[in-house]
Symmetry: C2
């Protein structure tokens, strides 16, 4: 359970970061349809800092909080009985996580990089929701979008090849992550990508190599990938 003391233990001083938050690159965008929710979160929520690779939600935590990423990257996951890990999703600045847990079903969450998150108790949101039905609607909209994403993952996992998955992932990230021109910055490790796509780390590595080899991408750094031939990639993705 995420107690106050646990939070304090995990907290770190943002001024001491070796990798400072990338707020300048990825400003927190509040889209028009979550404005009232965003405002409420800023009013009654509190900001927490987590260092890289720290638990934010444990799998058995009561699911009574919503989180908004301000800077950094977070993933939700589940550990299966045989030790395999499935990543439910990556959350980048502006994204909200903790929505799925309304049904008592909880994914764990951990920071991939140093992160700054806005936390709010759902119970603190309830009285505000009474005032404006707006906010409940926004929550509903967000949850429906999360559902749509999950269904896209179901599609991806059920019938796409390793190559299609990796290419799809690169496109998804180029849309969502901080990407300047043709370059995309991946905050997560190869293992994270593998666990997200339902592949092994070896397969992810080999697939990326193959994509580079055929001139579709260029792996500048491990964490930085440049698109060399977008249309060729499109075709590989189907």
């Amino acid at each position: 359970m995420l107690t106050q003391s646990a939070t304090v233990k995990n907290a770190f001083n943002p001024s001491a970061l070796r990798n400072p938050p990338v707020e300048s690159k990825s400003p927190v965008e509040t889209t028009s349809d979550d404005e009232s929710l965003a405002r409420s979160m800023h009013v009654v929520g509190s900001v927490l800092y987590y260092p890289r690779r720290t638990a934010i939600i444990h799998e058995d935590d009561p699911a009574d909080r919503l989180y908004k990423v301000i800077s950094g990257a977070v993933c939700t996951y589940k550990i299966l009985s045989d030790g395999r890990r499935q990543i439910g999703g990556f959350y980048l600045p502006g994204d909200i996580f903790g929505l799925e847990s309304a049904a008592g079903h909880t994914l764990a969450a951990e920071s991939i990089t140093n992160v700054k998150v806005l936390v709010i108790r759902k119970s603190a949101l309830a009285p505000l929701a009474k005032q404006s039905a707006m906010m409940t609607n926004e929550l509903l909209e967000l949850t429906a979008r999360e559902l749509a994403r999950a269904q896209d993952r179901v599609l991806l996992l059920s019938s796409k090849s390793a190559q299609e998955r990796v290419v799809g992932f690169l496109f998804e990230m180029s849309k969502r992550a901080s990407s300047t021109g043709n370059t995309v910055e991946l905050p997560m490790s190869r293992q994270d990508i593998a666990d997200y796509l339902g592949l092994t780390i070896e397969t992810v590595s080999r697939t990326l190599w193959a994509l580079e080899n055929c001139g579709a991408i260029e792996i500048s750094t491990r964490r930085r990938i440049a698109f060399r031939n977008r249309s060729a990639l499109m075709q590989l993705q189907q």
Copy 2:
């Protein structure tokens, strides 16, 4: 698009059913937390009948309706570019579908058996929702539950073997479908099961045979399966 005329064309006379709705076996259960929604649906919604294997929602339909299964079984699905079909979910009496489309992302839906459904326009729901914030909350709760289910599917598809998938499916159905004692009645075809689990029909068939061979289940009819050794099955599922 689902026009009134299309509805009429697809409609069938419930008194002429060869396989009458199983209302007596599977009564429509309205759980405590969707009571106000259920009431509203019954008040402003309308009942439609669809014969077996008929389109209820087309993939390009505007996503402005909610559906509640009264009797029979429905599946949502998507056809992939290469012709494969992925089933998003099965909906049995009492289940509501059409929730995911709030995000503009639509799955098609078709009847698996003859079905009776309650349909309501979301726009008709909106004015009622203003009166009671309750209902929006129920919708949120339902959507969150649907999200949790989708995430379970993601887990299942990303890292479970064919055997684990099939066993998991049997347990899911024994919980949800009309099951008397140790027998579960499957309204869907092998192909439906395969498309739901991300397997081929051959693999589903072989896996079921293997389960029967090792004494875990008994395939009385193609559509009726009896559990012979639940604890052995549990272990196979992991």
